[in-house]
């Protein structure tokens, strides 16, 4: 059930990427889809009544959540920030060249 809500979030992002005609809106859609994928990984790692995967000095912690998807998501978040910055740089360049964020009005592809 909770996977379905996560999937709905992904579909909202996908619809935004496919349907919108504004570059900033497309970047927003990419960010939302990326959030949904990160959330899916962390959801699949959760354990009922689990504890965070950090050992403590004075007590023994029995049931920890899965640490492997956390590590994957940790790198994916920083990569997402870097790619978002790259997209924004390209969008600002397009705005400088054509004076618009609307992709239907960018017709001539020369230089």
């Amino acid at each position: 059930m909770i996977y379905l809500l996560c999937l709905t979030l992904f579909c909202v992002g996908l619809y935004c990427i496919l349907r919108k005609r504004n570059i900033i809106k497309i970047i927003v859609g990419v960010i939302i889809a990326e959030y949904a994928v990160n959330l899916f990984f962390v959801l699949s790692a959760y354990r009922i009544n689990g504890r965070a995967p950090i050992f403590s000095e004075d007590m023994i912690i029995a049931n920890m959540v899965d640490p492997l998807p956390h590590a994957l998501v940790l790198t994916a978040i920083v990569i997402g920030l870097a790619t978002t910055a790259l997209l924004v740089a390209i969008a600002i360049r397009i705005y400088e060249k054509y004076g618009t964020f609307d992709i239907t009005k960018i017709k001539d592809l020369e230089g």
Partner: protein, 182 residues
């Protein structure tokens, strides 16, 4: 568990507001709200490392996006072929949903992960690396090649941004235009 559902519904509402609102600055701020709620969700799901990183990265991401949209409120255009575009988008999403429906039976039930690899990390991580934080020992010792690849991607992104931003040649053209007009 009810708070998890509430937070997810809040995120979906925030995302719909972000993609349907007309003003670009409001849209970007709604994305920031979605990111902050996502950070709280990570904290509830017992992932404090990911929560801290998501919170901090969200602030920087929001700054970059606001920097891009500032003082550029443009008329929102809905050009023709409205029906066709929506139909194609919905068809694509339906195809994706069909693929997902085939994957659903294979997923582990929520709250009962398959910990085949992670069990070894949890049992022997403290002995082998000496770090109390298992996530840190995974990303920097067991799976350090992931981190190396991440560093490479970050380096490539920095080079890409600097190459796009750099204006050698173009500046001269524009100055020539100005001079020509004068």
């Amino acid at each position: 568990m009810i708070e998890l559902y509430l937070l997810l519904v809040l995120m979906i509402v925030g995302a719909i507001i972000a993609i349907e609102i007309q003003d670009l600055l409001s849209s970007v701020i709604a994305v920031g709200a979605v990111g902050l709620v996502l950070s709280i969700t990570f904290l509830i799901l017992k992932a404090p490392d990911v929560a801290i990183t998501q919170l901090v990265v969200e602030i920087l991401c929001l700054m970059i996006l606001i920097r891009a949209t500032l003082k550029k409120d443009l008329p929102f255009s809905t050009t023709g072929r409205w029906f066709l575009n929506t139909l194609i988008a919905l068809c694509f999403i339906a195809m994706f949903l069909m693929l997902f429906a085939q994957c659903v039976p294979e997923l582990p039930r929520f709250g009962h992960p398959i910990m085949r690899v992670a069990r070894i990390y949890l049992d022997q991580g403290m002995l082998k690396t000496g770090a109390a934080n298992i996530v840190s020992s995974v990303i920097l010792d067991f799976r350090a090649f992931d981190t190396l690849g991440e560093a490479t991607i970050l380096f490539t992104a920095v080079i890409g941004v600097l190459a796009i931003v750099r204006r050698i040649g173009r500046k001269k053209e524009d100055e020539k235009e100005v001079e020509g007009e004068e």
